[in-house]
């Protein structure tokens, strides 16, 4: 399952579609599981009339969580040592998200083989909604 040093090289990419036509219900599902009940993510009345947004929108952490699936699908289970992101644009109900990881470096540290990755998640208009980096242990 895990990546092998001999099988990857800088510039390799891996892509997946994370979600198609994101449903409001999935945003509510994430609120319930994570415990983040900010009304901006589920309360259309508050979000449009009080907060002044065009509609409810996804938690950044939902996008990070969905992107994490692609990451662990690529590097294998239990292999991540670092995962960090910036939320660069909001994700709205109805969005379709695609994500790509790119191998930036393959290196050894304290006797461990590591891969450094960059990652980017875009919406159906090609707008970047999340960008980040990750590091994972790989096999020699």
């Amino acid at each position: 399952m895990a990546l092998k040093r001999s099988e990857i090289k800088v510039g390799d990419t891996y892509s997946e579609r994370l979600v198609e036509d994101l449903k409001r219900t999935q945003i509510v599902q994430y609120a319930g599981a994570s415990g983040d009940y900010n009304p901006l993510h589920s309360d259309e009345v508050f979000t449009t009339q009080v907060a002044g947004y065009p509609s409810v929108f996804a938690h950044g952490m939902l996008t990070m969580g969905m992107t994490g699936k692609l990451l662990t699908n690529y590097v294998g289970d239990g292999r991540l040592t670092k995962y960090g992101v910036r939320f660069t644009s909001q994700v709205w109900p109805g969005d379709t998200l695609d994500s790509t990881v790119t191998v930036e470096a393959v290196r050894e540290e304290n006797g461990e083989q590591l891969v450094d990755l960059s990652l980017q998640t875009v919406n159906q208009e090609g707008r970047v909604v999340l960008s980040g980096t990750a590091t994972a242990r790989i096999d020699a």
């Binding site: 399952m1 599981a33 508050f46």
Partner: protein, 171 residues
């Protein structure tokens, strides 16, 4: 904000994995997990954020008998309380703001049976002039998750941002 007891439980991991659309059996199937490299069920990479469930004072959870700024039949007119600590023990921690960045460092992956504590330490604060939203105030917090043996398992760094105007570009 701090969490004194965050019991990591299999059903919570299952629900969390479902909510991010991840059906990987390593998050739910004990037999599969036992035969895998990790040897047991682990939590998805962003699961530590769900420690918010175990923060008794978490501001983004409605509580019985207390005012809640979200709408009922109509908007309540209440203002969200600002926690003043972006990153928090979960979420961005700033009800009036947005989550700008989140970073995790995994010293080991957590599993059902772990009982964690989360200690939140303030980080940097900085300002930036935004084109779409006026002045942006960034606020960083560091959360250290330790296990039942006091070992550091996850270090999280969150950055929250408060804006003068709603950020509505892209819609």
């Amino acid at each position: 904000m701090a969490v004194e007891k965050f019991p990591v439980e299999a059903s919570h991991i299952l629900m969390f994995a479902r909510s991010v659309g991840d059906e990987n059996p390593i998050y739910s199937d004990e037999a599969h997990a036992a035969g895998s490299e990790v040897g047991k069920i682990i939590a998805p990479p962003t699961f530590a954020q769900a420690s918010a469930q175990f923060d008794p004072d978490y501001i983004l959870r409605p509580k019985p008998g207390q005012p809640w700024f979200g709408s009922g039949g109509q908007p309540t007119g209440l203002k969200p309380k600002s926690s003043g600590s972006g990153g928090g023990s979960g979420g961005s921690g700033i009800a009036a703001g947005l989550h700008a960045e989140q970073h995790f460092e995994y010293h080991r992956h957590i599993s059902p049976g772990d009982v964690l504590t989360a200690e939140v330490k303030p980080g940097k604060t900085w300002e930036k002039e935004g084109r779409r939203s006026g002045k942006l105030i960034f606020n960083e917090t560091i959360t250290e998750y330790r296990d039942q043996n006091g070992e550091l398992v996850i270090t999280a760094r969150g950055v929250g941002v408060r804006t003068e105007r709603p950020v509505d570009a892209g819609k």
